[in-house]
């Protein structure tokens, strides 16, 4: 479920900030679970890829998803040596979330671990960012391999809140694709 965006002006704020309950209910506006091409923007000249990463975009997995995907169901492929700019925003109405890029692991960590690349983290990993908040991550894919874009708030990643980052020596441009969930 998503908020309908009830807006209270400054005058009403004084009178009503603590008089609750009369605020409109949220409407359900599931946003689907397929790839939106606008999420990805690449600049070959600067070897930079911008990726819009939204936590809780849909109600999949109770909102514990990135762009509607979880358990590795989405794969961002980036050529090695490119700069990745993740534009993270939390739209989950219920829970805080954070992001870090970590090495591929057989067992998904239950909380923060050292990131795979320098600066590949939003910070506030345990506390997360609440609804409407976000952060920008910018890091260089210095090594090839398989990585996870993972919510580091305790328990979230282990509950399936992760997608994949593939850093490829062979790829010549970034790409986004779906994959089988793990």
């Amino acid at each position: 479920m998503r908020p309908t965006g009830v807006t209270v002006g400054p005058r009403l704020l004084l009178a009503g900030a603590l008089l609750l309950g009369a605020v409109g209910a949220r409407a359900q506006t599931a946003k689907g679970g397929k790839i939106d091409p606008t999420w990805l923007r690449a600049d070959a000249a600067s070897k930079t890829v911008d990726f819009k990463l939204v936590a809780g975009l849909t109600e999949a997995n109770g909102g514990m998803n990135f762009n509607g995907f979880g358990r590795g169901g989405l794969v961002l492929t980036v050529p090695q040596g490119w700069t990745v700019a993740l534009h993270f925003k939390n739209e989950d109405a219920n829970l805080p979330h954070s992001v870090e890029v970590i090495p591929e692991a057989a067992a998904i960590p239950t909380g923060p671990v050292p990131p795979a690349f320098e600066h590949a983290t939003t910070g506030r990993l345990e506390q997360g960012f609440s609804t409407g908040q976000g952060a920008e991550i910018r890091f260089v894919t210095g090594k090839a391999g398989s990585f996870l874009i993972f919510c580091a708030v305790p328990g979230h990643g282990a509950a399936g809140m992760w997608v994949r980052l593939a850093v490829s020596e062979a790829a010549d441009k970034p790409a986004l694709a779906t994959a089988a969930e793990r």
Partner: protein, 467 residues
């Protein structure tokens, strides 16, 4: 790093307790029974330490206990958000019903929202209580049934029903049912909610306020200090309250409501046979300012209640209790380990217009803090100093064996040290030692019958199972 934090905390403890004091106090929910007597508020069959999580929520959310708790019932960011949003977050399957127009009219969790808590314990005081056998085994120490979780997409709850092995009775323990929704104020996200509950601060999302504060498990048979403020558990399960709350932009939390007497186990409507009935309703307020930076989380706030209480019956003069409190909740993460610090200071002004005390007015002040270092989800080490001071009153705190005061002073201070081992997230072995420096006003012969404060030092070993 842990050594550094330990050093800092020892300095804080030294400042608070006066350095060489080895005193201690247990401020669990059970000791509040003594406070109720002192305040002549009311009696109850069902008062327990009010601090438990429920696997019901783990089943509903599909998240491990450690997602919502550092060390149950202490809440993480996810746990606070879950509670603030009405206990409705769910990943388990549900049964959905729709009306002829296609609108959703039912959403029932297919997982039965029930879980059980079983505690068994061993208590030993430094010196046995007069005429009793020392080394008490309670089996069970406490047995609770939990239910709650999502009821509708905007309404959820928490209900604890507890069997007390000493009274042999079963009764409603903590209860919090709430409605929550979202909107925006000044273009920033806000959560709006209503809570109906039976214990002031049980609805709070921080562990710095009384209902969910440390210690999370304490002995039901060891002596505990006689004085406690009204908001410090004295009203638990004796009132029903409605509060409205707003969390704005995760930066400002405000809550206001009122509590009215709703004691359990006595005749209704309340009449001349009742004791400790609140006149009208008692206003309750809460403001907190949480903030996050780096791996730190800090919330500072204030809360309080003001109540006029009939000492007996439901008419006539009343005694007035006004509680004003400050609180602090801090957490720092070290990867999989963490350090948490929770503390509160409560100031109570008592006006005894209806009698019951030797003085027309008294004050009572309580300060406590707990510093806990968590090693993963398996171990936790805690130090928790505790100090209560206030006006001496020879009627409120009269001499009596063990529970009384020779000096008429409510003063007590001490330290709780605790080691917790959790081989599984839903199983805890708790080793707690409570040491008192002063107890009901003094260190030696505090009760007028020759008992020393340190005679009440308590070893409490608790096994805690949740499933």
């Amino acid at each position: 790093m842990s050594r550094h934090i330990g050093t800092v905390f020892l300095i804080i403890c030294t400042l608070i307790t006066g350095g060489a004091r080895s005193a201690f106090a247990d401020h669990g929910g059970r000791d509040r029974a003594g406070a109720r007597e002192a305040l002549i508020v009311y009696a109850s069959a069902y008062v327990h330490s009010a601090t438990h999580l429920t696997p019901t929520y783990a089943r509903q959310t599909g998240l491990a206990c450690s997602a919502c708790h550092t060390h149950f019932p202490e809440l993480t960011a996810t746990g606070r958000a879950f509670k603030l949003n009405g206990y409705v977050f769910r990943r388990s399957e549900s049964l959905e019903g729709k009306n002829p127009e296609g609108q959703q009219s039912l959403l029932l969790n297919l997982v039965a929202p029930v879980s059980l808590m079983f505690q068994t314990s061993y208590t030993s005081t430094k010196k046995a209580l007069p005429g009793t056998q020392n080394g008490t085994v309670l089996f069970p120490d406490q047995l609770s049934l939990f239910t709650g979780g999502e009821i509708t997409p905007h309404v959820g709850g928490f209900l604890q029903v507890t069997f007390d092995p000493q009274s042999g009775q079963i009764g409603v323990d903590n209860a919090d049912f709430r409605f929550a929704t979202h909107g925006s104020i000044l273009s920033k996200r806000a959560t709006f909610g209503l809570s109906v509950n039976n214990n002031p601060t049980v609805q709070d999302v921080w562990n710095s306020t009384p209902a969910w504060g440390f210690p999370y498990g304490s002995s039901a048979v060891a002596p505990t200090p006689g004085a406690a403020t009204l908001i410090d558990g004295t009203l638990g399960q004796q009132v029903a309250g409605l509060t409205g709350y707003t969390m704005w932009n995760d930066r400002v939390y405000g809550e206001f409501g009122a509590y009215r007497s709703a004691p359990l186990g006595i005749q209704r409507p309340l009449d001349s046979t009742a004791t400790g009935v609140i006149k009208g309703a008692a206003p309750y307020w809460r403001v907190a300012f949480p903030n996050v930076w780096g791996q730190n989380y800090l919330s500072v706030g204030t809360y309080g209640i003001a109540a006029s209480v009939y000492p007996a019956g439901v008419s006539g003069p009343t005694n007035r209790f006004t509680d004003l409190a400050l609180d602090l909740a801090y957490m720092h993460s070290f990867g999989s380990n963490s350090f948490t610090l929770d503390g509160t200071w409560i100031h109570e002004k008592q006006t005894w217009a209806a009698g019951g005390a030797a003085n027309p007015t008294n004050t009572l002040r309580t300060f406590r803090m707990d510093a806990m270092y968590h090693i993963g989800t398996r171990y936790a080490f805690t130090l928790a100093p505790f100090v209560t001071t206030g006006t001496s009153d020879t009627l409120l705190y009269a001499p009596a064996p063990v529970s009384g005061s020779r000096t008429g002073s409510p003063k007590n201070d001490g330290l709780v040290a605790e080691i917790d081992v959790m081989p599984w997230q839903n199983m805890r072995l708790q080793f707690q030692y409570v040491a008192y420096d002063q107890f009901n006003g003094s260190s030696s012969n505090y009760d007028g019958f020759g008992r020393r404060a340190s005679d009440n030092n308590t070893l409490y070993i608790l096994t805690w199972l949740l499933y």
